[in-house]
């Protein structure tokens, strides 16, 4: 099970210039806010896909649920 710190560093490594805030009560459900200039000009669905794609294969497995908010910086 990934820690909040691990999820944060994977997002920040996967999306250049991103900063992430991650909260998890149980290391299975995650509340994530990501701010990135890379989101500029993308629809929200594309912003979410950028983040979700980093965890493809784990959603529904090690990560049960990831509630996501994105902001353009």
């Amino acid at each position: 099970m990934p820690s909040a710190e691990e999820v944060k560093s994977r997002i920040e490594a996967g999306i250049p210039g991103a900063s992430a805030e991650v909260q998890t009560p149980d290391e299975v459900h995650f509340d994530v806010t990501v701010r990135a200039s890379a989101f500029d000009g993308l629809s929200r669905i594309k912003q979410h896909r950028l983040v979700m794609d980093l965890f493809a294969g784990e959603l529904g497995g090690a990560i049960h649920a990831l509630a996501l908010k994105t902001e353009v910086t």
């Binding site: 459900h29 929200r44 669905i45 979410h48 959603l59 529904g60 649920a65």
Partner: protein
Amino acid sequence: MSDNEIRTLIAKAIDDNETILFMKGSPDSPACGFSARTVAMLQSLETPFAAVDILPDPRIRQELSAISNWPTIPQLFHKGELIGGCDIITEMYDNGELASALGTEAPEGAVAAAASPAPAAPMGIENRLGS
């Protein structure tokens, strides 16, 4: 009906309806808190939308997610494009983007009302990723 026929019908429904919501249950009787919240936001914008219940046959969800490449329900489409699921719709509703994305005027007070949303439904794993 084959999986392929189901997929074709879903694609046609997305093409034929300017705004269409795939959800659990119906707008009058939603079967999941996330679907219920999404319906309530669309109704408060007074935007007409078609709704499809994905529960009667598991292949509807399977083929829908194959088309949209999006794992969770609900899914809102406008003019053939996936707008988002409950999280994205909530965020867009709160900041007024949803009304402009759907080409409707936000009713007076809708954004203010959204600042104190109704209590969220219990976080059910099955609502996000399951079945």
